[in-house]
Amino acid sequence: MIIEIDVNGRKIKARKGERILDALKANGIRVPTLCNMDGFKPTGSCRICVVEVEGRPDLVPACSYPVEEWMVLYTHSPRVIQARRTILELLLAEHPEGCLTCDRNRGCELQELADELNISCQNLSHVQVSKRIDNTSRALIRDNAKCILCGRCIRICEEQQAVAAIDFLHRGSRIEVGTVLDKGLSYSSCVNCGQCILVCPTGALKERNHMNDVVRSLHDPELLTIGLVDPAVMASAGEYFRSKGGKELRTSLFSALKRAGFNRVYENHWGLEKEATILTNKFLQQIDANSQKPMFLSSCPSFVQYVIQSQSDLIPLLAPVKPARQLMPMLLRKQISAETGWPESRIVVVYLTACIAAKPEAHTSIGPGSDGYGPDHVLSIREMYRVIRLLGINIDKLGVEMLPDEFGGNARSGYLPALSGGMTEAIIRILQSDASETSLPGGRPARLRGTREIREFSVQAKGRTFQMASISGLTNFKNWYQDVLDKNRHFDLIEVMACPGGCINGGGQPIAGPHTDIKSRAKMVFELDNLYSGISPSEDLPLPPGLELPLQATLATFLPREIIK
């Protein structure tokens, strides 16, 4: 029912029962929020969104109070502004005065709010509170001193990711966010997806920083520093720089990395294509063996971790294939060492990615030189941007200087795995490479595309029909899979990405507030994919020259996560 309510002396239209906040937003009135997350049930805990309702003695929270016909609202009356300011002052009085050295400096909702509410001096004396920093995790760090207890991370972790690694502990002013028995994230059920970082309004959550190691390595003439760029980087790096089309951004980003001192920079395309090929082979083997069980893709480390701790019955169903981010660094070390004679022990591979979970994974392989597999350091997109800035490179002024270095062979589907459903699509392309069998118009399974988080489709290839599904977001997966079990539905191939939407929404992506525009990132990926999908990859993706390894044999034999545990 559409009704009219009076806001600040103007009539606006609203739906009866909707949240005041939504009605205001639809009418272009901004009310600040801290604990609110669109799409989640409001908790009404921060009270910064309060508005005045005529006739009520108290102020009501816009984020959780429903609109009713009789309402006369004031959203920015002196009383409201005073209340918001006082609330914020109370927060700031105990907040570390450390903006200058904070990861979120200039990108912090609390800071912005202080600015918006024009807090010009601290009327309440500042108190320094010492609170514990949880740095047990190799993926992320929690600094409770900066935490404003909005609870957003908790809700994301539980409601979106079905992990519930963290929650409020204790009560009253002793309240804090923490893990079971206060032991720290690495002893909790955290799967390192980093989704909590994306929603945190402050600098209380951040990824474990590998920047300094990387910069040191870039400056060290003794070391050969190799960059390996994940396709998800390309989806969003443009958000940091003056917007450019995907193609230009690609080249200028690579130029920037080279200028920053990376001796070589590779895209991860070939590795991902290779991963897709091996997965396809595995899949077909399994089909031939007439297995009734589905195969789960194991490309997402957070999903694998989730399976290991919460759904261990699925472990045998995970595709026993090494992901590209683990495979490529090894191949690169071998190849470059073979090419240049540079000892492998002094080749440093830096993986640039949207994935926070790649950080602990990297630590589990062995450092430079040994025959370790993984990268030596992992940079999130945020860190990558900082390195580029730190080293004084103005990406917007860079022309098309350098292209990525070549490795392997042609890769056709290298961009797709940035998206949820992308790896599946890459596999379908391989399955359907006999053009005659293409069942979908344009050779593209249309339902695969888009940002929907649960997609099911059947694919015709090799003379039969495969049931496939691609799911992103762990709660989505949990509920969906329960339904699959309950209804006894059959699937051949299931891809799960922990982050909703896939790596374009990974924990290392730029923080664009709580409402990240995933759609435009997806569009960027499709745009890039269009540019390269015309390329036909060599049938069996031969190994690059000079690399003689019993690769196929080793690759297939181990689970990516056995080493992580």
């Binding site: 409001p42 908790t43 009404g44 805990s45 921060c46 009270r47 910064i48 309060v50 003695p57 108290d58 102020l59 929270p61 959780s64 109070y65 429903p66 009383r79 005073q82 209340a83 006082t86 609330i87 109370l90 927060l91 009085a93 105990e94 009327n123 309440l124 004396s125 108190v127 404003i148 207890l149 409020f168 204790h170 009560r171 009253g172 002013s173 002793r174 309240i175």
Partner: protein, 649 residues
């Protein structure tokens, strides 16, 4: 004959009797009822008030003492455990009854005194020492010249509707409760009335919530009854955690069946098949008694399915609240019952439409529910005769603080506050003048001596801007420092805040730190505390206003009440604390400072050794000096100086 009857007292049988509209009792049944009411006993009986306060005063020893006395005198004595009359300051309270004579109540007696009293009473002599009074009993001859207990100043003028059986009956026994007319309202309701009809009665009765807000009960009942749902709940809020409030505990320990009957009626009227009593783990005796009473009601067929063949089914569960003051807030109880942190939730939706497990839930206070049987039994017209036009019925108060008689009193609405303090409470302890009252506990407001004529009812309280709260009344005399009390209440709110919303979590903390800086003398006055004191005081009202208007639940909204009302009423003392740095009551010990009188000081050194802050310097046999900025005001030096050389400033 009576002994035989004891074995034959069968709740089922009684149930039959009570079910009849105008029970025509045969002789045997009448005798049974009289026996249960102890209007007919065959041997001396001693009634021990066994409630949590009396246990602390050692009531258990009396069981042994009575038994010993019986053995020594070769007499069979019945020992009956009852609840409390409400007069806590007279604990341990004991009732003595010999066949044919009215029961006598004694207070503040010791196991040593007991035998002599018993000796006298069996000889038909009534010692007057420690006597509270005799109880008027049907067919029992009253003692001549002995005052009745309801003439005792603590009881005289009370209207004891809820409390009338407290301290009189065995609290857990369903049979006794029934014999006194209990459960009749429920049984009749099931038999003869539809819930609509009964709902009308509640509406007409003008029943208002007793937890403080005075919210009209019928509004909630209608909401619960009329919200379509497959399930409804009645929730009895028995999580009394106000420091200073203990009326629910006394009622739960002394007459649990009354509360249970109220819940039953509420459930029947609102169409709820499940009810929950949420009480506190910290009230083990109340838990035990409620549990036992529920058990008895169950075996009397008053709980379960198809109760009294009416087709109505009800189950009442008892849950122990694991200790959090905020879990008295209605939505927080719901969270707690759902197995979550007891954090309050946004309203709307209100529990009446979307409560426990999202089903309509009627949440009421213990006291509100205990009123229900009265209303149904006697009708709204009768009920409205007590109290004032807009506040009908009675209200329980617990008296504490610097008052002569502590305890739980029940008064009709409209009784002036003065009566509570001066008449029931016997005035301020040791005849001191009254300084103020604190009503409503940690979310309450102060009442000064000038407002003490205010009648207790919702109308006047609103007019005078007072808080009734759930009924805790704390008396302050000149020896109490209101500023210090404000600080302590804020400390309580701060500790008990759930921490969910910023204005309450950080607001209570901040106001507390301001009050702390006002009531303590910081080691170094130049520093933080001094700044906080001046800056803070100027902002305290604004902080309080924001806490009040923006906090999520009642705790935060009212946490600053005592501070705001106290700052208005005790402005002078506040200023003394802030500017002159003295506490006239001498309570804020940290504000005292000490100086050594050089004339008297012999340099004996003892104060220097004893000073916990190392604030005294001096060498042997020379005059010592106190460094005022280090001294914490503990007074140790003052205590130890044998030469009267330490002066208090």
């Amino acid at each position: 004959m009576i002994q035989e009857m004891t074995n034959r007292i069968n709740p089922r049988e009684l149930q039959e009797i009570l079910l009849l509209e105008k029970p025509e009792l045969n002789q045997e049944q009448q005798a049974m009822i009289r026996f249960l009411r102890r209007e007919r006993i065959s041997r001396p009986a001693v009634f021990l008030d066994v409630t949590s306060p009396s246990v602390i005063y050692g009531i258990d020893q009396f069981k042994v003492a009575v038994k010993e006395w019986g053995e020594n005198n070769a007499l069979d004595v019945d020992v009956v455990e009852t609840g409390s009359l409400g007069l806590i300051s007279a604990e341990p309270v004991i009732g003595i009854q010999i066949p044919g004579r009215a029961r006598l109540y004694y207070g503040q007696i010791t196991p040593l005194k007991l035998p002599s009293i018993l000796d006298a009473v069996v000889r038909q002599v009534v010692p007057e020492e420690n006597l509270i009074g005799q109880m008027l009993m049907a067919s029992q001859q009253p003692w001549e010249g002995i005052p009745f207990w309801d003439q005792h100043p603590f009881f005289k003028g009370q209207t004891r509707y809820l409390m009338n059986l407290c301290g009189v009956i065995d609290p857990c026994s369903a049979s006794e409760y029934i014999a006194w007319g209990g459960y009749q309202a429920f049984a009749k309701s099931l038999r003869y009335y539809t819930s609509q009809e009964l709902l009308k009665l509640i509406e007409e009765s003008n029943l208002r919530g007793r937890s403080g807000s005075g919210f009209l009960a019928a509004t909630k009942w209608l909401k619960v009854a009329n919200t379509p749902s497959d399930k409804r709940y009645v929730l009895c809020n028995a999580d009394e955690s106000d420091p200073g409030g203990y009326m629910h505990r006394i009622l739960m320990e002394s007459n649990p069946h009354l509360i249970i009957e109220g819940i039953m009626l509420a459930a029947y009227i609102t169409g709820s098949g499940q009810a929950i009593i949420y009480t506190r783990s910290r009230y083990p005796m109340a838990v035990k008694r409620l549990q036992k009473a529920l058990q008895e009601a169950r075996s009397a067929g008053l709980l379960g399915s198809d109760i009294l063949k009416s087709g109505f089914s009800l189950d009442i569960q008892l849950k122990r609240g694991p200790g959090a003051y905020v879990c008295g807030e209605e939505t927080a109880i719901l969270s707690s019952l759902e197995g979550k942190r007891g954090m309050p939730q946004n309203r709307p939706p209100y529990p009446a439409t979307q409560g426990l497990f999202d089903k309509p839930t009627l949440v009421h206070n213990v006291e509100t529910l205990a009123q229900v049987p009265l209303i149904i039994r006697n009708g709204p017209e009768w009920y409205k005769k007590t109290g004032t036009a807009e506040s009908s019925g009675t209200k329980l108060f617990s008296l504490s603080g610097r008052i002569s008689r502590l305890g739980v009193v029940e008064v009709p609405f409209g009784t002036p506050l003065k009566t509570l303090v001066n008449d029931f409470g016997g005035g301020v302890r040791n005849g001191q003048p009254l300084k103020a009252l604190l009503l409503g506990g940690p979310s309450g407001k102060f009442v000064t001596a000038t407002q003490i004529d205010t009648p207790i009812d919702f109308e006047h309280f609103e007019e005078e801007d007072l808080v009734m709260g759930s009924g805790s009344l704390v008396v302050l005399d000149e020896g109490c420092c209101p500023i210090n009390l404000m600080k302590n209440l804020m400390d309580f709110n701060h500790q008990e805040s759930c921490g969910k919303c910023i204005p309450c979590r950080d607001g209570t903390k901040r106001v507390l730190s301001i009050l702390k800086s006002v009531t303590t003398r910081p080691a170094n006055q130049e520093k933080f505390d001094a700044l906080e004191r001046f800056r803070g005081i100027t902002r305290i009202e604004e902080l309080a206003e924001v806490m009040k208007s923006t906090s999520l639940c009642g705790l935060g909204k009212t946490a600053a009440n005592p501070v705001i009302s106290g700052m208005k009423l005790f402005r002078e003392e506040m200023e003394e604390h802030v500017f002159d740095r003295i506490c006239r009551a001498g309570v804020c010990r940290n504000l005292r400072s000490f100086r050594i009188d050089p004339v008297n000081c012999t340099g004996c050194n003892i104060c220097m050794i004893k000073c916990p802050e190392n604030a005294i310097i001096g060498s042997p046999h020379k005059v010592h000096i106190i460094m005022e900025d280090i001294c914490s005001g503990c007074g140790k030096c003052y205590e130890v100086c044998k030469f009267n050389a330490i002066r208090v400033l």
